[in-house]
């Protein structure tokens, strides 16, 4: 069984909880006192991840770190549909890789601003907010043009992929870092769609959506 080293308020940990819930993968949690205890910097955790970051998983002895990397692993290993990380579609894989890197950018900006406001991290919050707005403009434009051709998801497929999961949490939590999403209506609509994926679960700070309209 998969063990997830987890912090409840971490959007990166939530990405994995979310995907595992959608895929119906069983897992157990080891709660890590990331804040205020800084347990991720403890000797035990540094042995699992020398970078001193969460999340980490242990899947029967296979230890992996980094949210995006673990999304790749979980989808490739456990998604029978092959939709979340389509191994035999190189163009789509390239696109997914591109947006996973984009998700890292969101972490470096929107998540950083949230850590500043909520957990008092000492960093240049104005720069973090400005960086997040730059990325959100790109994402909103991308999603808006997608909508014009009937595409609901980040990548060019008729179903969501792990790139949607990778970008979702810190976009939806951005207001905790003082980053409003009011100017990004296409992002707000996409957020509703992700919330309606079967198996979706929430985390603290993210509310569920209501049911879609029956067609």
């Amino acid at each position: 069984m998969i063990t997830l080293y987890d912090f409840e308020l971490s959007g990166n940990c939530y990405k994995l909880r979310l995907l595992m819930s959608i895929l119906g993968v069983e897992y157990k949690i080891v709660p890590v006192d990331f804040y205020p205890g800084r347990e991720h910097k403890s000797a035990t955790l540094l042995k699992l991840n020398p970078l001193g970051q969460l999340p980490i998983i242990d899947d029967d002895g296979l230890i992996l770190r980094d949210a995006q990397a673990i999304l790749v692993y979980l989808a490739a290993r456990y998604d029978a549909s092959g939709n979340w990380y389509p191994r035999d579609n190189p163009a789509l894989l390239g696109e997914i890789g591109q947006w996973l890197a984009f998700a890292d950018g969101i972490t470096a900006t929107a998540s950083a601003a949230r850590l500043h406001d909520g957990l008092f991290y000492d960093l240049d919050v104005e720069a973090a907010r400005a960086g997040a707005h730059r990325l959100f403009r790109i994402l909103d434009e991308h999603l808006w043009f997608g909508q014009q051709v009937g595409r609901d998801w980040i990548c060019a497929a008729d179903h969501p992929t792990i790139s949607d999961i990778a970008c979702f949490p810190y976009v939806l939590l951005s207001e905790e870092g003082g980053i409003s999403r009011q100017d990004y209506p296409a992002i707000r609509r996409w957020g509703d769609r992700v919330k309606r994926v079967p198996g979706f679960i929430v985390m603290s700070g993210i509310f569920p959506a209501g049911p879609a309209r029956a067609i």
């Binding site: 043009f145 051709v149 009011q182 209506p185």
Partner: protein, 585 residues
């Protein structure tokens, strides 16, 4: 600056069903949502209860639910229909969120901070053939964006790759500017509306005078998006160098004074507050006519499931009818009227005299039969035309995916009213046809057999059936507080032979109620306002709180426990056993 107060606040494509859009105009935020019936709601972005943004709430297509305490606000009226913290109470009708005008035109959603005359036409734009550009939000005042738009350069739709077009200003008015691009024989009109979001934020919303299909359409949209992005960057650089104006602080309207404290009784009597038109009249079942009542102007007030209206008939009579509508269905009220053989004129007047197109006066909806929505299971038991309040309730619970059963007792299939509404209930509906009184009692005993805590039952039907049900429910261990009745009318003979004194504690007056007069009549005669509706002890509108004295209950509204407690009285029929009653009025 502008000759009219209308501004676009969203694009039509920003409002898919079940989404709540977050808009803003001159600093005032909006929650904007399209109901399943297509109606666009533009509301103050603030729950009246604790100020939480409604744009983080949930639209269920009929109502918007606040994320904080689950308060539900109805499509169109923005009236609060349910306060989950107090499931037994009907929310005061005046708990209504602030709404703003909404108009959909040119692919945009328009609103205004003030009541406004009609949205003016824009020369050169035709709703049937246009292309809405991606809205371009910018961190700059609207005036700066407008100034730069005068120099905006673009290509006509069919000449995106041709040599740079000539662009001329065709019109400029208020917050909009119309530009025409010409290249060879091709030309396109682009009208830009700049939405003043706040003192230093705005959105450029562009509309082209011609649609396009497929790849060309995409190319055109990208062409403008690129050029508008470049324009945005220039405007924002310029704005960044200016001293920043502080954000506009919107002033929120105060809530009504009566809502600042817990609600007391609202005024008053049997007033015909609203004029409606019979938009449709049809036979929904044998001997039962359906009437769809639409407002002559404006919106109908918010209703809650279980609510009734007084209908003032052309023959001068006043009758009560339950609203059968589902939540959020707020463009009309639908009532069902059974032709009564022993009619004193009410039902026959509606059946025979009133026709489609006629005007009727009705009261505001009143809810003396409120529906709790905190039951683990709810039973609805309807006899005949008693279906009308229960069908509204069953639709409300069904819509919230709460467990309920509707048992509909009728003579035969042809007596089942509102089949199209019943169909939406699916398996929650069971009809019981052609049962005689004994069989009805046996069926009721079966239905009421299995009381568990947190179950509630609502019954409406003929008095004999309700009396049987009341007895069975008591035998099966249902507490009075869990069984709710609504009688069509009070069939008991009223004994008004007593005479007694009433003291109105808050008004500090004492009045004599002689034999042959009611408490209500005596109070009215002395200028004391009291709402009422059926005036026969069935509907619950004229209830008063008893502080001292022993009431002589003659109504069918209060349940046995309420009657025993002696703390409430229906002032239209009930009287006093003691020489004196002190009422909290």
């Amino acid at each position: 600056m502008s000759s009219h107060p209308w501004h676009p606040i969203a694009a039509s494509h920003d409002l898919p069903f079940r989404h709540v859009f977050h808009g803003q105009l001159f600093g005032r935020e909006f929650a904007v949502w399209r109901a399943d019936d297509g109606y666009v709601n533009v509301w103050e972005n603030r729950c009246l209860h604790r100020g939480v943004r409604l744009s983080i709430g949930v639209s269920d297509g009929r109502e918007l639910k606040c994320q904080y305490h689950g308060w539900r606000y109805s499509n169109r009226t923005a009236g609060c229909t349910y306060i989950p913290a107090h499931p037994a109470d009907a929310p005061a009708r005046t708990i209504t969120n602030r709404t703003f005008p909404a108009e959909e035109r040119y692919g945009l959603v328009w609103s205004s901070l003030e009541e406004a005359a009609a949205l003016p036409r824009v020369a050169g734009l035709d709703d049937a053939n246009l292309l809405v550009l991606r809205g371009m939000p910018l961190n700059a005042p609207a005036a700066l964006a407008l100034a730069h738009l005068a120099d905006y350069r673009f290509q006509p739709n069919n000449a995106i790759d041709s040599k740079e077009a000539l662009v001329s200003i065709e019109a400029a008015e208020g917050f909009s500017i119309a530009l025409r691009a010409r290249s060879g024989s091709q030309e396109t009109l682009a009208v830009f509306f700049v939405q003043p979001v706040d003192s230093s934020r705005s959105v450029i919303r562009g509309v082209l005078d011609r649609n396009a299909e497929g790849m060309v359409r995409n190319t055109i949209l990208r062409h403008h998006n690129e050029r508008l992005s470049a324009l945005r960057d220039r405007v924002e650089r310029e704005a960044a160098a200016l001293p920043a104006a502080p954000p506009i602080e919107p002033v929120y309207e105060s809530v009504a004074p009566e809502l600042a404290e817990m609600p007391s009784l609202s005024a008053s009597g049997r007033r015909a507050a609203i004029t409606v038109q019979v938009a449709r009249k049809w036979m929904t079942a044998n001997d039962i006519a359906g009437f769809e009542l639409r407002p002559i102007r404006g919106l109908l007030p918010t209703f809650q499931p279980g609510a009734h209206i007084d209908v003032h008939l052309p023959n001068g009579q006043i009758r009560q009818y339950s609203i059968t509508n589902a939540p959020g269905e707020t463009d009309s009220y639908t009532i069902g009227v059974k032709r009564e053989r022993d009619s004193k004129g009410g039902s026959s007047c509606l059946h025979e005299t009133v026709r489609e197109g006629d005007l009727l006066a009705i009261s505001e909806p009143r809810n003396n039969f409120p529906l709790r929505r905190d039951a683990v299971k709810t039973l609805f038991i309807a006899g005949g035309i008693g279906i009308t309040p229960l069908i509204a309730m069953a639709q409300a619970l069904s819509h919230m995916s709460l467990l309920s059963e509707l048992h509909y007792f009728a003579q035969d299939e042809t007596q089942l009213a509102f089949p199209e509404r019943l169909a939406t209930l699916g398996r929650a509906l069971t009809s019981h046809l052609g049962l005689n009184p004994q069989a009805t009692a046996a069926k009721l005993a079966e239905l009421l057999v299995d009381y568990r805590p947190d179950m509630h039952a609502y019954l409406c039907g003929p008095a004999p059936m309700l009396e049987v049900a009341r007895r069975i429910a008591a035998e099966k261990g249902w507490p009075d507080a869990s069984v709710h009745f609504e009688y069509f009318k009070n069939t008991k003979a009223i004994d008004d032979s007593s005479s007694f004194e009433i003291a109105l504690a808050r008004s500090a007056v004492t009045l004599r109620v002689p034999a042959g007069s009611t408490i209500l009549e005596v109070m009215r005669g002395n200028g004391i306002d009291m709402p009422s509706s059926c005036e026969q002890g069935a509907c619950g509108t004229c209830v008063a709180t008893v502080l001292e004295g022993e009431p002589d209950h003659q109504d069918v509204y209060l349940n046995d426990a309420e009657k025993r407690s002696g703390t409430k009285i229906m002032t239209c029929v009930s009287r006093a056993c003691s020489a004196r009653l002190v009422l909290d009025l």
